[in-house]
């Protein structure tokens, strides 16, 4: 166990503390859980970047050979190319990763319009 002393934002801490009381959990357990979640999020972002960079490297070849098909990139490697999402899920499910880049080759810069519906940007 490590003892730490930190200075944190008052309002965030008050919300955190009241939630701890409401859920009747130990402060150290809640704090450890929060640290683990943050670390896990960072791992996801790292894997995302690895997959994205891998796609950029193989983009030209994929477009040349597999335009319109689904490509599955896991941990920086092309693990399969297939015709449907169902097949892509099957290929991806064989791996143990945090991020799977499943894309339709050539399907980019799509644009859509929303004409006066209730949608809004906050």
């Amino acid at each position: 166990m490590t003892d730490i002393q930190v200075h944190v934002d008052d309002s965030t801490y008050k919300k955190f503390e009241s939630e701890i009381i409401r859920q009747n959990v130990l402060f150290e357990d809640a704090f450890t859980d929060a640290m683990n979640r943050w670390l896990s999020k960072n791992d996801l972002e790292k894997e995302k970047a690895i997959n994205n960079n891998a796609y950029k490297r193989m983009e030209r070849e994929l477009k040349k050979k597999h335009f319109g098909k689904y490509a599955v990139i896991v941990q920086g490697k092309l693990t399969g190319v297939c015709d449907s999402l169902k097949e892509a899920w099957k290929i991806a499910k064989t791996g143990v990763a945090r991020h799977y880049l499943i894309l339709k080759v050539g399907d980019e810069n799509k644009m859509a319009r929303i004409r006066g519906s209730a949608m809004k940007i906050k």
């Binding site: 892509a88 644009m111 859509a112 940007i121």
Partner: protein
Amino acid sequence: MSEIFEYGENQIKYPQIGVKIITLGNEYPLEGYELMRIDTGFDGPVLVPYDIFSHLCRNIELFGEMRPIIEFPDKKLLRVRAANAEIEIENKSYDAQVWTYPGCDEFLVGLEILNKLKILFNGIDNFIEVY
């Protein structure tokens, strides 16, 4: 086979249809379907609230130029978050994308999906029938 979705009562003001979204190892909702508003003014696929997308699609999210752009009525352009997903409507499955953006708090089914469906809009009796 067809399914009827009523509207005009119980705070369901606009025509809606039942949709299930399936992603890698996730689905929404877990049971049954979510009623999503039919929006012929949106020519994209399916738009979902930001928090739902974050939960459902964070492990398969697209990046960069694969993320689509939405043009809003005020001509503002926004590159949105997106992922590929299976969209299930009336026991049929469609490969499509799910989109969201910060502040989005509504479910919409756009023309990209609607153009694949046969829908009867009965405004007099306030129901939608999906075939």
